[in-house]
Point group: C2
Chain length 177, copies 2
């Protein structure tokens, strides 16, 4: 079981990044749960719900008002807590170990990450030791945990894209649309 | 040589996604050139310039007012043009072929991609056949082209992060800061 905690979402500033983050998690770990703290954002939640109504339900999203409480609670249930930060240890050295954990909680920060995150995390992990996109870091960590594969085929949907060299082809159940 | 064309950047809506895209390209292909069309955005360009002043110059960014003209011109110079779209062919089947090209131009769309992009592209390629983040798609394509490695170590910078289990450590030339 993989769960994500997106810290300190800011409604205006982060709306698109957090949406992209949810879409990225959705094709990499379709059954993942995504928690987010910061501003409660109905618009973000609705946009993902609407997309999943059309393209198949996969990830679930839950707002938490107290991120620290969630992390403490997950740790007490045996989750291994990973925090993505460019100051952490190289991700490549950690993949095998992380893959042995039954339950992972991956924390994705925003601009200012409080000290308790570094302290409570079992692993502070860097995907690149340069300023980076938290979305890129999460995407690459999940991809590596997934043995460099997507899992978009695992999403049950009435709509199905038929890959094309040019143009677009989508079928709905049995009929082409 | 890898070049990226970010289509139809919208100053307000896309500012953070395009910034994250540049950061992602920077650690995956530090010498890449990023073109963007749509709204000319000084703020975006300055934010990347400022970051690179501090952390090392790597990618270069250029605004183009006419994206189609750029693509036609690159094709005439022998570039292989790749367009990322969820309707295209599976990326995994194309990596080897793309890696034989001397010069690649990778087009990353935004919400509405005009028909000429599909037509002019030598390859329409999907990273996942589900609605996705164009940033995720680009990140994973570059990562695969890169044999699943980052190249952030190739960036020349006075600042260097020393990976830590907890906390942050950065050195500047010889002194710790």
């Amino acid at each position: 079981m993989i769960e994500i905690l997106r810290l300190n979402h800011r409604k205006e500033r982060d709306k698109r990044i957090t949406t992209h983050l949810a879409l990225s998690v959705r094709v990499l770990y379709p059954n993942a749960k995504i928690y987010y703290s910061g501003d409660k954002d109905e618009k973000f939640e609705k946009s993902i719900a609407k997309l999943q109504e059309k393209w198949g339900h996969a990830v679930s999203i839950e707002y938490v008002s107290n991120a620290k409480k969630l992390v403490v609670s997950k740790k007490s249930k045996g989750y291994v807590v990973v925090h993505l930060t460019m100051y952490g240890l190289n991700y490549k050295e950690k993949i095998r170990e992380l893959n042995t954990a039954s339950n992972l909680l991956i924390i994705v920060g925003s601009e200012k990450v409080p000290g308790w995150v570094y302290e409570l995390a079992d692993h502070n992990i860097a995907v690149g030791h340069q300023p980076h996109s938290e979305l890129t870091a999460l995407t690459l960590l999940l991809y590596e945990l997934n043995d460099c594969k997507l899992k978009d085929n695992n999403i049950k949907s009435d709509l199905q894209i038929i890959p094309q060299e040019k143009g677009k082809k989508v079928i709905e159940s049995d009929k082409q649309i």
